[in-house]
């Protein structure tokens, strides 16, 4: 890391941005002050609506319709962008700044060749010839780690994977050799192993090009590993800023503290509950007085609600009247084994489950091939237990969930619920089985009929299964609302009137309606902010204890699964590669893929650096034609010839499907 130069490259002074909407004006940014030095990475962290994205869009002049900067200065290299003439402004933004966006799948022009898009800034701002532009594009694509860059320049975006497209966007930003690179959630849409590749690439390039980088993210883990300094934003303001080490060692603002305590990683022993911030962020279209976090803060006093608290302090600045003094630790705490009666009969047993789809091929013609989504997966779930299933997109984890919930029919294999194989059931019996197993969705808004009131939404499962009479159903629905902590008046409202966290509670209430014994939760908190995520996770655990539920908890987020699950299964390309007790899988992984996955997860502990040798290279193979034998062997650092034969899932409690497991099963020597 470089020694910062005297004058900051970019300085925001009292930047205020408004967005005019149909119903009133949202004051998205209110007097934001920030600095970025050359060669340094500034992390901006905050939840949705905090203004972190608006800040960088204001700098780049890319505000959405109705948005405009209404006050303050944007000083780039000492010159205020707000006072610049349009052509000069375009040149500064186009040449000296570069931006990487969140969603690589939609950030590229679908009908323009990669090379033309990447080299466009050169052609426009520097008048470079077509041939030279192409050459430079190839060169920069090679630099960002694209395989066969001389071929890819002539490709179109849809021919590349998400990770590859993000490399293209980065290449596009870098081809102008910018002095400032802005990355807005650059890896949020990507899998963790790809995320790691991209973040490392940005790090390397920053050093090589001596750029300043602004990294915007909601993920404290990403910030901890990559930023030199951090600014924490809340409700359109910067509430705290400090060096990364300082911030994570001793956060001062109560909001920063709450954010860290809400992380699943912070769950200490005791009852294992997460700290959750009550309430919701304020409505920025209304006039606000005092500290904007005060209504949700445990330590707020009347003074907080009336005085406008300014950002004070040198180096480590924060805007809080009652700052944190006690230490906050995000411990990668020891496992929290709960007592699960191991001897009990499993509520769910899955044996050799297979699901294949026809690829493409519509109509009467035979299809081109079969997609192997799930290839021989076996596991069981005992009463009161949570089984976590993790894996990256395309690994088949959601398909397993839908199969277990009976939404799809398996191609082969058995799914035994409470002693009955549901694969062999007729429609009537399957209908009854649905009482036992219920599904909880990632996007509850999409999973609720927008034209039904919450009342009808919660009553529907009872009607379908013909449970009780009208009065009994009403009583049950009220009881459900109490269980998930929502007021009765919610019943008369429609889904679009609720926030994400509230909808997730309603979704949970609906899956509980039939008193199921097993709930399959497919990415139930992935769309939520950390503080709201904590509320939902706490609720799920409380209800599990209260009602003796079992969960199959499907997620791409290892830290959430680690927090929730008793046992964890890891899937890769349709196969279960490792399954065992949560703390063993996370702390003593046996499969090379699990190890790589764990190492790729950004940890909110700046002191932890992942081992560099476990980065997985390359792309996920196609499920249309998966590798024979061990499906991970094409990307595995340990692969040998024998891996072409399929390794069985072996072991006692902690099983692994690998010819060269990283370690023996804990306690296996004794039994062997």
């Amino acid at each position: 890391m470089e020694a910062p130069i005297k004058q900051p490259l970019l300085r925001l002074r009292d930047l205020s941005t408004d967005i005019a909407l149909r119903r009133g004006t949202v004051h998205a940014l209110d007097q934001v002050n920030l600095e970025v030095n050359q060669g340094e990475t500034l992390g901006i962290v905050g939840e949705s609506g905090s203004g972190k994205t608006m800040t960088v869009l204001s700098i780049m002049g890319l505000l959405p319709a109705g948005g405009s900067v209404v006050g303050g200065e944007i000083l780039f290299d000492g010159r205020d962008l707000r006072g610049m003439a349009a052509p000069e402004l375009r040149r500064v933004r186009g040449v000296e700044m570069g931006m990487v966006f969140q969603d690589p799948l939609t950030s590229l022009n679908p009908t323009m060749r990669i090379g033309a898009q990447v080299a466009e800034p050169l052609r426009v701002h520097q008048g470079v010839s077509k041939a030279e532009a192409r050459e430079r594009a190839v060169e920069i694509l090679r630099r960002v780690g694209m395989p066969r860059p001389d071929k890819i320049v002539d490709d179109y975006p849809h021919q590349l994977s998400g990770g590859m497209r993000q490399r293209v966007v980065i290449a596009m930003a870098l081809i102008r050799s910018p002095r400032l690179l802005i990355a807005d959630e650059p890896t949020t849409a990507l899998d963790v192993t790809t995320q790691r590749q991209i973040l490392e690439l940005i790090d390397d390039l920053r050093e090589e090009f001596r750029m300043a980088v602004i990294l915007v993210t909601h993920d404290l883990g990403v910030i901890a590993g990559r930023a030199d300094r951090v600014a924490v934003m809340y409700a359109g303001r910067v509430v705290e800023t400090a060096t990364t080490a300082e911030l994570f060692r001793a956060p001062r603002h109560r909001y920063t503290e709450a954010l860290m305590r809400a992380l699943p990683e912070s769950a200490h022993d005791g009852d294992g509950r997460l700290y959750s911030i009550p309430g919701l962020p304020p409505d920025l279209s209304r006039p606000l007085t005092g500290c904007r976090f005060a209504p949700r803060c445990r330590f707020a006093t009347d003074e907080c609600r009336t005085t406008d608290v300014a950002l004070t302090g040198d180096g480590h600045a924060f805007a809080c009247l009652h700052p944190v003094t006690e230490p906050v630790t995000i411990a990668a705490a020891a496992g929290h084994d709960r007592a699960v009666p191991a001897a009990a009969e499993p509520i769910l047993t899955v044996r050799d489950l297979v699901k294949e789809y026809d690829a493409g091929g519509a109509g009467l013609r035979r299809s081109a091939g079969r997609v192997s989504a799930v290839a021989g997966v076996s596991f069981e779930v005992r009463p009161g237990e949570t089984l976590g299933i993790v894996g990256e997109s395309g690994c088949g984890k959601s398909t397993v969930g839908r199969l277990v919930a009976g939404l799809e029919t398996p191609t082969a294999g058995r799914i035994v619920v409470d002693g009955t194989d549901i694969a062999g059931l007729d429609r009537r019996a399957r209908h009854r089985m649905h009482r036992q197993v219920q599904l909880m969705f990632q996007d509850s808004y999409a999973a609720m009929n927008p034209r039904m009131r919450i009342d009808s939404i919660l009553t529907e499962p009872l009607e379908i299964q013909q449970v009780g009479d009208a009065a009994a159903r009403r009583a049950r629905v009220s009881e459900l609302l109490d269980q998930v902590g929502l007021p009765r008046r919610a019943l008369e409202r429609y889904p679009h009137e609720f926030s994400g966290g509230q909808l997730q509670r309603i979704g949970l209430a609906r899956s509980l309606a039939l008193r199921p014994r097993l709930i399959v939760a497919d990415e139930p908190v992935s769309a939520l902010d950390v503080s709201v995520q904590a509320q939902v996770l706490n609720l799920m655990r409380d209800l599990q204890g209260e009602l003796g539920l079992s969960y199959v908890f499907i997620s791409h987020d290892l830290s959430v699964v680690d927090y929730m699950a008793d046992r964890i299964g890891v899937m890769y390309l349709g196969k279960m590669v490792e399954i065992g007790p949560a703390h063993q899988v996370v702390r003593a992984p046996r499969h090379p893929y699990t190890k790589a996955l764990l190492d790729a997860v950004p940890s909110p502990d700046p002191g932890r650096t992942p081992s560099p040798d476990t980065t997985i290279q390359g792309e996920l193979p196609s499920a249309l034609n998966p590798p024979t034998g061990c499906r991970f062997r094409t990307r595995c650092p340990l692969a040998q010839d024998v891996c072409a034969t399929e390794p069985p899932l072996s072991g006692a409690a902690h099983q692994v499907a690998c010819h060269f497991p990283l370690r023996q099963e804990a306690g296996a020597a004794a039994t062997a």
Binding site: L62, G94, F101, T106, P110
Partner: protein
Amino acid sequence: MTRYVLTRLGQALVIVILVTLITFVILHLLPGGAARAILGKEATLQQIAAFNHEMGYDRPLWEQYAMYLRRLVTGDLGYSFQLNQSVAEAIAQRLPKTMLLSVASTLLAVVVAVPLGVVQAVRRNRWPDYTINGLSLLAYATPIFFMGLMMIILFSQVWPVLPPEAPQGFTLAEVLADPAGLVLPTLTLTILTVAVYSRYVRSSMVDNLNENYVRTARSKGLSEGRVIVGHTLRNGLFPVITLLGMYLPALFSGALVVERLFNYPGMGLLFWQAALKRDYPILLGVTLLISVATVLGALVADVLYAAVDPRVRLKAGRS
């Protein structure tokens, strides 16, 4: 790509066969039966019997249909006793003139509608958008013959610069020799078409302007003009190619009314005259031909779209 084209071709073929089936069914629904309808009211019973035998109308229906298809394939669309001319010949004389009218007004409409739609999208929800939108809705709500009449009143009565009637030439060359007479019919058809196209271009452009890739393009410091012309326009106009195909039936319907209003000697006028005289061979022949033209037009548009859009072009080829 090849596979897509083949699939689309197969579909078009099925549709054409279904269309022939529909005209065949209508032929047999005609009052007094096909023979009476074709030969006219004065035909004697012997004539009808002879005709039925000659055309195979006394055979089983499926056989009749097979014969009907066979005749169509050889270009035999029937014979108009009222015109004393084969249907194919009557159509061949008028088809080029209708094509001229349709193609000219479509080209003109595209040239006008694309800039209008783009301006609307770029200035959306501001006065240029509202104004153009209002005008195109007005054009859409006005019966096209009323619109044409307004044009006649304006340009040949109030300000007499153009003839109120279309050129009456027998051949295409004769029609082209009187370009002034072509202006009003073409313009009338164009106005209706512009009303439809500009709305479509607008919504397609608005969709594209909201895409993330536009933000990426702006982040490169491109001028607004370059963002629109270099990035959005192409993507926004691809779907318009498909629209050209989809809009053909409405275009031909419009041409029918315009030809009648301006007395333009094309297929529409032929069809109209035939309808008044109940000249069924002409009616069915024109209907069939115009439907096949529609199917082929839509096919060409879809294939063209697939050829220019890399997302379609490069996808199907792989699997």
